[in-house]
Amino acid sequence: MTTTQRIPPGAEPAAVPAALDREVARGEGGRTMPPPSAARRRASRRNTLAALGFISPWLIGFAIFTAWPIGYSLYLSFTDYDGISPAQLTGFENYERLVDDPRVGQSLLNTLIYTALYVPSHIGVALVLAMLLQRAGRSAGFFRTLFFLPKMTPAVAVGVLFLLLFNGQDGLINEALGSIGIQGPYWTTDPAWVKPGLVLMSLWSIGSAVIILLAALQNVPRELTESATIDGANLWQQTTRITLPMISPALFFLAVVNTIAGFQTFTEAYTAFFGAGGDSFQSDAALFYVIYLFRQAFEFFNMGYASALAWVLFLVIMVVTAIQFVVSKRLVYYEGGQK
């Protein structure tokens, strides 16, 4: 039996104790009660306002620096705008031009190839390093820091480093390959090797993926692998049947964020191949979509067209991410038995 107190007629709602209010809301016999009292609504509104007040700096920043530019770029994508003169509405002209522009197809293809190389290599190497770290014992902390440190290197510096390390004549990579009798390619100038070179260079900053996967690996219940060992499962079987399914949410997360990062790749390639600008040599093999977008916006001042390019990229990423989520339903295991 529920003990209840009656609210005296005419009592001020604000004076009603919160505990009493909760009891009233629960009602006699656990029945659902009518709408909450005015006091509760006020308290709730106050709480909401307080919460909004606390997060208002972020909300204001988001509105000014993210939401407004996103919305404005959608408007600009339907205009002819050079950054100075007033924007002139041109309907779907920018999107029609985009279809006919061969450089859009070329840069999109470059980006797709890069992403297709980047995502599996990034996750694969990170997984191997994370598994090694898990077995590193006391020195794991040291190596974890060591792997993460390159992540702190500015992307522009990585771009310059790429040119030095991967120089086809006397770069460190080819020197190393040469020491074991392999003639390294011209990574920075041969179109066939530019993208693989950039992908290899991107492994420089793999630290955060290693940390994420290490955390996931450490959450795999040890009793599962111990049971499997007792049952005679070898390391490969344990890895493929237990470890990978158990860390599949982390792998899926990395697949999604790295795919988006792959589509948006810019700084390293721009620094390495397009930073000199003007009439210097620029490898078409490194002309990624966002670099082409940047060129249209800030070299040619075609801000309207660049905005249309940005929105198409957004849609492409949306579609690819949606496909990944659909596929993940069959491949990703979440604790609680859902697959």
Binding site: D82, G168, Q169, G278, D279
Partner: protein, 462 residues
């Protein structure tokens, strides 16, 4: 606060802001904010002057900057934002009405900036400051003149020379005349004679034809202007231009391909004493004249030979480049900007700076190789300051002045960035082996003409 109270307070705040804004505008004594500044030698200069894109890296810059400050007088507060001009940042500032008062830009960018209204005509400026535009180099003036108005004050001039390692030339049995472009077949043969390899690695680059950047030079040597004099018609697919490209690309192919040469070039210590000429790793290449100073400074004993770049008829030729001063739209102090720019480029200022450079070089035991400006009278006077130098430097100086007298340029146009990008992309495709020269230039011709037509249509409509 209720809406009833909020409204009048907002109106009051707006009125106050408008009033203060009007006061601020009324207080500006050095030209209105719409870019229509007034000029004149008698103007009493005050206010602030923000200069972007110029650096005080050497005595040439420092001496001229000091003279310009003196010309402005003590009432002008000058802020110099050193470093290269960031076009993105600059255009954003113009769009936001917060542009600097003076910029130091590449002359190749002046046409695009003028067509977009980002900079203002300086015709009144040069008239007001009594500047005789006849003193400017014709090719430099062409680069800063758009729609019959001067939009920039020419600064330094850059031209190309042929530079070579004389010991490598002698060892291969060729001479500077074989690598200066005057005999294209001889230059191709010299590249093969000079190149040295060890396995697949290059040990010596025979001849670097410096593609893609010097393609306009090789095309012009065969009589082709990639862009017509009025800046409206592309000539990228001219048969002579195709021939020039095939020849220049062929020079790389005979040395193992562009990738090999570029990788070796990139690995060099370009500005140090181990540069490729000093290290005996480069036979010959065309290069801008400023590299003469670098070589004299860091490797004065290197075995070098110099000449102008020459046409098949043996005539010197060069493609002029360089910088210019320009005044952004919306400047608050156009008068001071004009005074600063014209003082920096006056004959006396250039000569004083050159004297300081000469003194500095001689005190270091180096050779003063001269300074090329966009001002013919300044060039003449500075050349008069030169002493006879030992070889090979005297040959380099002579070649530099010979090239300067023969220099040509591309005219200002509203699509200069796109035009350059299109022909550069075409050549990059050829160098990467993705296209044949004729096909690449034919495609580039279509794209370039479309870009020019569109840009000119917009410029003409305004």
């Amino acid at each position: 606060m209720t809406a009833r109270r909020l409204l009048p307070m907002t109106a009051l705040a707006a009125a106050t802001a408008l009033t203060l804004g009007a006061c601020a505008n009324g207080g500006a004594q050095n030209g209105p904010g719409d870019g229509q500044a007034w000029y004149g030698g008698e103007s009493n200069l005050t206010g602030e002057l923000e200069i972007v894109g110029f650096g005080l890296g050497d005595e040439i810059a420092e001496v001229r900057h000091e003279r310009a400050l003196e010309a402005l007088g003590p009432e002008v507060d000058v802020t110099l934002v050193e470093g290269g001009l960031d076009i993105q940042q600059f255009l954003s500032a113009v769009a936001a009405g917060d542009a600097p008062d003076l910029i130091y830009a590449s002359r190749a960018q002046i046409g695009s900036l003028a067509a977009r209204g980002a900079i203002v005509p300086l015709t009144d400026c040069v008239d007001g400051e009594s500047v005789d535009t006849e003193q400017y180099r014709e090719e430099a003036l062409a680069q800063v003149t758009f729609d019959d108005e001067i939009y920039g004050i020419p600064e330094f001039n850059q031209v190309q020379l042929t530079m070579a390692n004389s010991e490598l030339l002698d060892a291969a049995g060729v001479s500077i005349d074989d690598v200066n472009g005057s005999d294209p077949e001889a230059m191709s043969a010299a590249a093969e004679a000079l190149v040295q390899r060890s396995g697949d690695d290059l040990q010596v680059i025979g001849v670097d034809s410096k593609l893609p950047e010097f393609f306009p030079l090789w095309a012009k040597a065969r009589g082709v202007d990639l862009l017509s004099e009025d800046g409206r018609t592309a000539n990228l697919d001219d048969p002579a231009a195709v021939e020039a490209l095939e020849w220049a690309v062929g020079i790389y192919e005979s040395q193992g391909g562009f990738s090999a040469v570029k990788a070796f070039r990139d690995s060099a210590d370009f500005f140090g004493e181990g540069n490729q000429f000093a290290a005996g790793e480069l036979g010959a290449m065309p290069m801008e004249q400023w590299y003469l100073n670098v070589l004299n400074d860091v490797s004065p004993d290197a075995p070098l030979a110099f000449d102008a770049v020459r046409t098949p008829e043996g005539e010197p030729i060069a493609f002029a480049g360089g910088q210019a001063w320009a005044v952004p739209a919306g400047t608050d102090n156009g008068t001071a900007a004009c005074r600063y720019a014209t003082t920096m480029t006056q004959v006396d200022t250039w000569v004083e700076a050159a004297e300081a450079r000469k003194e500095a070089r001689e005190s270091e035991g180096g050779v003063f190789t001269g300074v090329l400006t966009g001002n013919t009278r300044a060039d003449e006077e500075i050349r008069g300051l030169l002493s006879d130098a030992d070889e090979p430097w005297q040959a380099g100086i002579d070649a530099m002045y010979e090239a300067n007298e023969a220099a040509v340029s591309m005219p200002a146009n509203p699509a200069d960035a796109e035009f350059t990008r299109i022909w550069t992309d075409a050549i990059n495709g050829v160098l990467a082996g993705d296209a044949e020269p004729a096909d690449a230039l034919a495609t580039a011709q279509e794209e370039a003409q479309a870009a020019l037509d569109e840009a000119w249509a917009e410029a003409d409509a305004e």
